[in-house]
Amino acid sequence: MNIHQSFETNKSAESINKPINQDVTISFDRSWFGELLSHIEHNGPWHQWSMFQLAMEAEQASLVKDFDQLQCLSKLPHIEPMDHQLQTAKKVVHEMGGRAILADEVGLGKTIEAGLILKEYMVRGLAKRVLILVPASLVLQWVRELNSKFSIQAVAQRKNYTWDAEVIVASIDTAKREPHREQILATDYDLIIIDEAHKLKNKKTTNYQFALQLSKKYCLLLTATPVQNDLEELFNLISLLKPGQLGGQSEFNSTFVVDKRMPKNEQLLQDALAKVMIRNTRQDSAVSFTKRHVQNIILELSDDEKNLYEEVTRFVHEQAQDSTIDISSLLSLVTLQREVCSSRDAVFLTLINMFKKTEEGSRIRDMIWALVDHIKRVKSNTKSEQVLQLIKSKNEKFIIFTEYRATQEHLLHFLQEHNITAVSYSGGMNRGKKDWMMDLFKGRAQVLIATEAGGEGINLQFCHNIINYDLPWNPMRVEQRIGRVHRLGQQHDVYIYNLCTKGTIEQHILNLLHEKINMFELVIGELDVILEKLEQDEGSIEQQLAKLLIQNKDEQQLNDALAKLGSSIRQHAKQEQTHNRLKPSTAINHSSTKGVQL
């Protein structure tokens, strides 16, 4: 046998490069060759022929056969992306070179688009190291979605260093601090995704400066806020992504800016933007949401309940007279008034806590005891009875939202007494328990009683009835509640029941939300922009409301003050709509994604 020929020493490098033509070079990897020679020299060990074939078949199955088709879809059996999401992913990968601002309106699935693009790059072998920067409250949600929907083994960055994982989700506030900062800045990332990117609008912030220093190949910026409302902010955002896309700073100012909010040469700006930004609107993407039916149920309190409400109100106003009182005590006093509208359990609990905090023998203690006595005398339960009636009349699944844990407990018992299966859900539960409660609700229980709606991304499309047992004062939170149910994938019209006790502060709030700012009919996504503007000037909306309530004891005065607030919100809304009509946002929309050549 002459298999063993003489071994030339293999001087060739691990890889060699040669030009193919003027445009491109070819590099041959040769690391395998040395290995092969050493196997020959040592007469093995050799691998199995069957394994050799399996490896080759794996290679054939995973081969990226062309430049243009999305490869990732065959590997994603768990999601069915919508048309506009697919178009967006294709456009970003094939036409925009993987650097884009994804600015879809809220609820159109920007996360899905980003996930598709990420997966596509991973499948093509073009992205390995990936950094995803999101607000802290969304870290786990991103990790879960990437794992469950996209089979991407993303890792949440914890306090200890997990930076060697390939796909990492972290909050920018953590990432920018040492010791993480150094590690991140030393890494070249194939892809960086920044969620809620409109927060990076200000050049001078440390977050912006940090983002500017990151080393990246592809980059996605996600935002729902129509950034083109502020030209300076828009310029800053694009400078992160593609510096120079809108020219240099001075050039940009002279070409595009009349004043901060007013562009010139709109068509030119639109064209320049269309190369880096995709904004799908609900209207254009033919995403049909089912209808919302809002019903306000005004309840007449029974005499004993009314009595209690009046007593609590009197107590609140008396306490508020105290000149030494600070804003936080003021807020908790108003809370008392709100709680009494929700349930006697809620107000009782707060009173007890107040009692514990006051000095022994003080006059307030006596007053509290008197109120507790009133509570004991309340026998009727107008709101709960109404809920029971509603649920029984429809015999469908219901979600009841309340602001207060005590009310939640009360409802849980009350419904169980009346043979209605109910489970609870609150922010304090750990993830496992939350998931379990969701499963129970989906499978067995008729009613879910929740104190928390936001943040964690619970999706409850299988239910289409919501009862707002009491209303949050912040319209955003109301919207979040409804958004859990009224979202993509909801098959039915959604019924929203607002319970409201007549002649109480609840009625004022409902009035403000429903009639004055018409929030239940607002387009999703408009509200957050409007509120952001409002709160910039005046402090949080809860604080504004509390002040109004305390300052205006007289019913008429209060009505006027609330009307003023309402019209100010409407004003902001109007401005917003005018802006959207004037500014490119309407033009940079689906029309640009539709023209994609495949």
Binding site: I20, L36, V64, Y218
Partner: protein, 311 residues
């Protein structure tokens, strides 16, 4: 890969890894892993290093791989119903056993259940494992002995077989596979060599009554021949994609020049200028990384194949 392909693929893998199949249907496989497979798939390096040091008997994990989830669930439902139909006495007996001895009557073994589909992390892991364990082979074609005189000897040619993967990259990417066989006797290069191989019966054992023709070509020479062949082949292709990528690259470079040049001129002091310059350089690097067209040729696996005849 559709469900059926994944099933057959995984079945063959488990077989090659000498795993013990406990139960299977057309939509699932229950399997106790062999030690080799366990090391590949379960990510328990500490456990295995402990076993190796302590010479304990290893306990490998069991999996229930599900290929068609819908059908599997139907099947399970039926099974549960038939379980429920167990006579009451039997159940009673079991529960007495359980209460008396504090152990369940049936042994509990942990079987990890997993949905395997094209794109699932586990299948991806199996792909990687096959590449690790199927890179270098040394094989002989089996020959039909019938009709051959005992003293007659057949001539075999040794071939260097290489499965190349060619990646055409810029900000986008496309791939091709080239399977080449280089005759170590004549230096002849054959394309689609792998397709030819899989139609043959190959074995690691040298058949009797066979002799290997003398090598005229060294391994290094064969390597050069293979690379030259690829190069010649690739030179004939259309490179408009690379041309376009270069144009994009130029455009992008011009764009950031346009942005940074004025900034550099306006810098108030050297420190600021240095910072801007640094960022400028970084952006340029990124853009080259993103757009520069290149062709990367890597090898999936290779081997020496001794085939009948002189070529």
């Amino acid at each position: 890969m559709i469900v059926k392909d994944v099933y057959q693929y995984v079945e063959r893998y488990l077989e090659a890894m000498q795993c013990e199949i406990i139960e299977k249907s057309s939509y699932h496989i229950k399997v106790k892993l062999s030690a080799a497979a366990d090391k590949e798939l379960t990510n328990r390096p500490f456990y295995w290093s402990f076993i190796e040091r302590s010479s304990e008997k290893p306990e490998t994990l069991s999996f229930c791989f599900i290929f068609d989830q819908e059908k599997y669930e139907q099947h399970k439902k039926l099974e549960e119903e038939s379980q429920a139909a167990l006579s009451k006495e039997e159940k009673l007996a079991e529960s007495i056993l359980e209460r008396t001895f504090g152990v369940p009557a049936k042994p509990l073994s942990r079987v990890l259940q997993e949905h395997l589909y094209f794109g699932s992390p586990r299948l991806e892991q199996i792909f990687q494992s096959t590449k690790q364990n199927g890179s270098y082979v040394y094989l002989f074609e089996e020959t039909r002995i019938a009709g051959l005189h005992p003293l007659e000897s057949k001539a075999y040619t040794a071939w260097l077989g290489i499965n190349y993967r060619v990646e055409y990259c810029c900000d986008r990417k496309r791939e091709e596979i080239y399977s080449l066989g280089i005759s170590l006797v004549t230096g002849y290069v054959m394309e689609q060599f792998y397709e030819k191989l899989i139609r043959k019966r190959l074995s690691p054992k040298l058949p009797s009554n066979v002799h290997i023709a003398k090598h005229a070509i060294t391994y290094n020479k064969a390597l050069t021949l293979a690379e030259q062949y690829i190069e010649r082949k690739l030179k004939q292709y259309d490179y408009s994609w690379a041309k376009e990528a270069n144009e994009r690259l130029k455009e992008e470079l011009a764009r950031i020049n346009h942005y940074y040049e004025p900034l550099l001129q306006q810098a108030v002091d050297e420190e600021q200028q240095f910072k801007i310059k640094q960022q400028f350089e970084q952006r340029k690097e990124e853009i080259r990384w993103q757009f520069e067209p290149r062709i990367k040729v890597t090898v999936t696996n290779c081997g020496l194949f001794h085939l009948e005849g002189i070529d």
